[in-house]
Amino acid sequence: MKNDTILLVEDNPDDEELALIAFRLGHVPGEVVVAHDGVEALDYMFGTGLYKDRDMSDHPRMILLDLKLPKIGGLEVLQKLKMDKRTQSVPVIVLTSSSEVEDIINSYRFGANSYVRKQVEFEKFADTIKQLGNYWFSINETIPE
């Protein structure tokens, strides 16, 4: 059980690439798995569909979740993860462009562990990613095995 993957749920290829670059630039440890919509994200987490052979016990260290996603939206994904005992302890960081109050409120109501805005300026965005990696990998304690 490695517990060092990062699940990045992001449908925008530009954002995905920039995020990956930011991870690299920020020297964030762990493997980044990208899910391009809500269904994919849930499949990964619950070992269904595309990921039906995945070891379910291997939870990602953190999930970076965009809210606006095709098929199943980010908030619904969040809700399902947090309502399932198997996945509810996995930190979910909502990473979005949105500054809508509604989004922030709902995210926390459904159990998001953090709400982070994607900055338009790449430098700031890269810095945010770096800090997130640092925090969730180095500072934050997870439930012991």
């Binding site: 530009d14 606006k68 462009s97 500054s99 994607k118 300026e121 790449f122 965005f125």
Partner: protein
């Protein structure tokens, strides 16, 4: 009376005594006188001689005669005769005048006697009192009327006591009498007649008209008994009154005509019935009130009435307004030749009959209609149900329309939400890509780019950053519109202080003084008001950038009916000509290079102020700073 008779008798006897001698003597005296006057004239003898002769004769007539001569004898005789004549003349004169007086007296006595006779037998009760109040005489009628004898009422005092037994009344009568008497005496008139109630001897009161004549030494009083007359008058008056009352208040019309049928009087009911005032009816002929074809019949009837035949009849009378009124008419002739008629409006009776007939008819109709009504009612119930259905349908429609409208509104809100959401999420990603890749190019390929290339990339970065800011502000603006409004008490001073602290932290390199008036307490949405102050104070700070020492004041204006708050700076200001542009989205008065910003801040401020029901306006001058005033609605 007795005294007068005796006086009368003695005078008469005296006259009869002297009468014969005086006539005789008168004859002789007259004869002698004529002869004597002739002789005296003829003989011219002196009076002296004659007197002397007469003197001698009277002393010794035979001797004297003998002594006298012829002429002397004659003179003597003449003298004697003259003396005789004189003496008899004087005598006669005495007797004559005495007789005249006796005759006059006798005549007076005779007339007085007749006078008393007249009084005594007078048909009017009379009494006579002297001025001392002694009753001198009462006549037979007086005695008969009152029953008192002269002995009962020797003086006025007794008369008053018995005639006016009531003391108060007596006093009043006495005063009246004395007053009238003194007036009559003073003015030499009669005592005017006055009616008194005088008690008869048996106590019966009589109405008596008392008048008097002042005589030489007495007052003759006449007592006219008007008791019966007054009773009759009273009775007549009462009867007249009764008649008048009846006439005036009878419900039926009553009229009186003369024997020609000319109306003399009509009672009020009659006037009302015919519709004319009394003045118009008087002098009108009865037949004038009838239709022409009925007039002859009336003339005939009237003749019959005058002959004593009566009986009610039904007529049509023309009223003043031209209507024909059905009346019953009953006339009868009065003894004086006039005709009394009683007229009664019977049109109502006829109407009533008609009405009863109609009512019966209506009842029949009603019964008929009842059935129809029952049918109608049933259909009405149906109608009612239909109406209710219609109302409920309308209500439903209305509700539907309200719902439609609401959902339209909701849809439009949702659309706005969705739009904002989409902008929020999707519009910024491309900007991030532009900035991100530009950044990566600059950092990863520095040696492959010359200065120009790097410049272009930095311009792309700047543009995307600015675009990001614009999007941010647009979203803020839409959020202001969409957000909930919570009104409560807000301490503007506190908010301003907090903002000042933040601004100072962010601009440590600048000298800025914030002057914030304490206790600016307002009603409003604190979150929105904070945005207002943030924007205004940010602007103030921004446009004082080039001042050595910036002064930013927040306060309120005193006076006026409305509370006016302001944020004031001593910055670069602006031309008031452009003030209107301040509140339009993306309008700017300064270049972005000099003073960065999107031009949306004041639009947001204005929208918030408007949501509070207030106004905002600037006051500025180039180089002398700007002041933004605002109100928040509501009175002071």
């Amino acid at each position: 009376m007795t005294t007068n008779s005796s006086k009368h008798g003695s005078v008469r006897s005296l006259i009869s005594l002297i009468d014969p001698y005086s006539r005789y003597l008168f004859g002789i005296a007259l004869t002698f006188s004529i002869v004597l006057i002739g002789l005296i004239t003829a003989l011219h003898f002196s009076q002296q001689q004659a007197i002397q002769a007469a003197m001698s004769v009277s002393l010794n007539i035979p001797k004297t005669l003998a002594e006298l001569n012829g002429r002397m004898r004659v003179e003597f005789v003449v003298s004697v005769l003259t003396a005789v004549c004189l003496i008899s003349g004087v005598w006669y004169f005495l007797i004559y005048s005495l007789r005249k007086r006796a005759e006059n007296l006798a005549r007076a006595v005779e007339s007085e006697e007749k006078y008393y006779q007249l009084l005594r037998l007078n048909p009017i009760p009379l009494g006579m009192v002297d001025l001392e109040g002694k009753v001198k005489f009462i006549n037979d009628k007086f005695i008969k009327l009152f029953g008192y004898q002269l002995s009962d009422i020797p003086s006025l005092n007794e008369w008053f006591i018995v005639g006016y037994p009531d003391e108060v009344y007596r006093k009043w009568v006495k005063e009246n009498w004395e007053n009238d008497l003194s007036n009559a005496l003073n003015n030499k008139t009669d005592i005017k007649p006055k009616v008194y109630t005088i008690a008869r001897k048996d106590g019966v009161p009589l109405k008596v008209d008392v008048s008097g004549i002042i005589m030489e030494d007495s007052i003759l009083v006449a007592f006219l008994d008007i008791t019966d007359r007054m009773k009759a008058e009273e009775a007549l008056r009462e009867s007249e009154e009764k008649y008048r009352l009846f006439f005036e208040h009878a419900a039926d019309g009553i009229f009186v005509t003369d024997h020609n049928g000319v109306l003399l009087d009509v009672n009020p009911s009659g006037c009302v019935l015919i519709g004319y005032p009394l003045a118009d009816l008087r002098g009108k002929k009865l037949i004038d009130l009838l239709l022409p074809n009925a007039q002859e019949k009336m003339l005939y009837l009237f003749t019959r009435v005058l002959m004593g035949q009566t009986g009610p009849d039904v007529w049509k009378v023309i009223s003043k307004n031209g209507n024909l009124i059905d009346v019953s008419l009953d006339m009868r002739a009065l003894p004086d030749g006039r005709v009394l008629g009683i007229i009664r409006d019977i049109s109502e009776n006829l109407q009533a009959e008609n009405q009863i007939h109609q009512a019966q008819q209506e009842l029949t109709n009603l019964l008929k209609e009842a059935d129809q009504s029952r049918m109608a009612l049933l259909s009405m119930v149906e109608d009612h149900q239909m109406a209710e259905e219609r109302i409920s349908q309308l209500n439903t429609e209305l509700e539907q329309r309200v719902q439609d409208r609401t959902s339209q509104l909701q849809a439009s809100n949702a659309e706005l939400e969705a739009f904002s959401y989409s902008v929020s999420h999707d519009l910024r990603a491309p900007l991030r890509a532009m900035d991100g890749y530009s950044n990566l190019l600059l950092s990863d390929y520095p040696d492959r780019l010359d200065d120009q290339g790097r410049h272009y990339l930095s311009r792309i970065q700047e543009a995307s950053k600015r675009m990001g800011e614009l999007i941010e502000d647009l979203l803020n603006l839409s959020r202001i519109t969409r957000s909930e409004f919570i009104r409560r008490q807000v301490d503007l001073s506190q908010i301003a202080k907090e903002i000042a602290v933040t601004l100072r932290d962010q601009n440590r390199d600048r000298v800025v003084e914030f002057k914030i008036e304490p206790d600016l307490i307002v009603e409003g949405d604190s979150r929105l008001l904070k945005i207002v102050l943030e924007n205004l104070m940010n602007n103030a700070l921004k446009f004082t950038e080039k001042c050595k020492s910036a002064l930013i004041s927040v306060g309120k204006l005193s006076g006026g009916s409305e509370m006016v708050y302001f944020v004031k700076d001593n910055g670069i200001g602006f031309e008031m000509t452009y003030a209107g542009k301040l509140f339009a989205p993306f309008q700017r008065l300064h270049s972005v290079q000099d003073y960065p910003g999107t031009g949306i801040g004041l639009v947001i401020v204005q929208r918030i102020i408007t949501r509070h029901g207030g106004r905002i306006w600037p006051e500025a001058e180039v180089g002398k700073g700007a002041t933004f005033y605002f109100t928040l609605g509501g009175a002071k």
